[in-house]
């Protein structure tokens, strides 16, 4: 079971990617991107986890109690904020795509056709 969280990471990543590839709606596609990014939270927190350790807050536990890695937790926080920003921007693009092309199906959007 030592690698189970990392397998979960791969599963979330692949499920999200499958959603992006097969999506028929821009908002659905953006949510799939959020799912892909969620895998990075699990990866970051999984990498920094120490068995039996407390959260890296010494407010009510003695200093030097073993704690999990605070650096990856800070990175996960950064990750969440960036995701929120990217999502907002993408949703506004989806609104404009609907206005301009009259569809939100990525496979019908003329400008995205390869």
């Amino acid at each position: 079971m030592a690698y189970f969280p990392f397998v979960v990471v791969a599963w979330i990543l692949c499920v999200g990617l499958y959603g992006i590839v097969t999506s028929r709606h821009l908002v659905h596609q953006i949510i799939c991107l959020i799912v892909v990014q969620s895998s990075t939270y699990v990866l970051l927190l999984g990498v920094g986890y120490v068995t039996g350790a407390v959260a890296p807050y010494y407010f009510d536990v003695p200093v030097h109690t073993p704690a999990v890695d605070p650096v990856v937790q800070a990175l996960a926080l950064t990750d969440v904020v960036v995701e929120a920003a990217v999502t907002a921007l993408l949703l506004s693009f989806a609104v404009q795509a609907h206005k301009r092309f009259g569809t939100v199906d990525p496979q019908e959007l003329a400008s995205l056709k390869g």
Partner: protein
């Protein structure tokens, strides 16, 4: 490309990704056996150096403060980008919200929704403020607090109408608060330079003891400005998206 071909290409790519990922996993130390030195070094030094008991905040606003400045400006840029992308385009005009299908039976906002939203607005502001001002001691900080503060205004929207939301958060004021938040963070960092310290050094008094709200010097101050910036950015983004559905209509005037 047909959907079937798409799935094929995806299947091949994922098989390759999975193979390399599993190969990479075999070299990792396994869950719960974190080997890296940096986390442990910071855990041992942070309380002594910064008087902050929230080590994640100490990392965010002190040790990796420069990275967080960049992160904050990503949010700033995204809010600006949303405003630019959703501006009033040619052939569109702003007008007040009217029902498009007048014969449709739209139930008014129920009294229960209004009351619960109004009841929660005050406590949500308090929680947001508490989170913003306790980055140095507890699991909280400006990013979390800012989002909760923005939620309070979205509750106002739920309880009333978009125009009330707009009156409580006029765009000019929200813009100014966002600029103050983003600029304040950068200014705190720059203020260290004339003192002969590195950018974003902690030059304020660290307080009496670790775990006090007044402790940790610039960490608490930066968290406050981040809270302003994040709250204002989320209110702006929400306002822009709501405005699309309520105020801007295509070529009908």
């Amino acid at each position: 490309m047909t959907p079937a071909q798409r799935r094929w290409v995806f299947g091949v790519a994922v098989a390759g990704l999975a193979a390399f990922y599993l190969w990479g996993l075999s070299g990792l130390p396994g869950f719960g056996n974190y080997p890296g030195p940096y986390g442990f070094v910071i855990l041992h030094l942070a309380v002594k150096q910064t008087f902050a008991t929230g080590i994640v905040s100490a990392v965010n606003f002190e040790y990796r403060g420069f990275d967080t400045v960049g992160e904050e400006f990503i949010l700033f840029t995204a809010a600006a980008g949303t405003a630019v992308v959703l501006r009033v385009l040619r052939g569109e005009r702003e007008r007040s919200a009217v029902d498009e299908a007048a014969d449709r039976d739209v139930p008014p906002t129920s009294g229960a929704v209004r009351m619960v939203a109004l009841l929660f607005t005050g406590p949500v502001v308090v929680v947001g403020w508490w989170l913003t001002s306790h980055a140095q001691t507890n699991p909280s900080g400006g990013f979390q607090g800012g989002v909760v503060l923005a939620t309070a205004l979205i509750l106002v929207y739920l309880a009333g109408e978009f125009l009330v939301f707009n009156r409580f958060s006029p765009v000019a004021l929200t813009d100014a608060v966002e600029a103050l938040g983003a600029g304040g963070f950068a200014a705190i960092g720059v203020a260290a330079v004339p003192l002969g310290l590195a950018y974003l050094s902690n030059y304020l008094p660290l307080g009496q003891f670790a775990g006090a709200v007044s402790s940790s010097g610039t960490i608490a101050l930066i968290s406050f400005f981040v809270g302003l910036e994040v709250g204002a950015a989320f209110i702006l983004i929400t306002g822009e998206l709501l405005e699309q559905t309520l105020l801007i209509r295509q070529g009908d005037g």
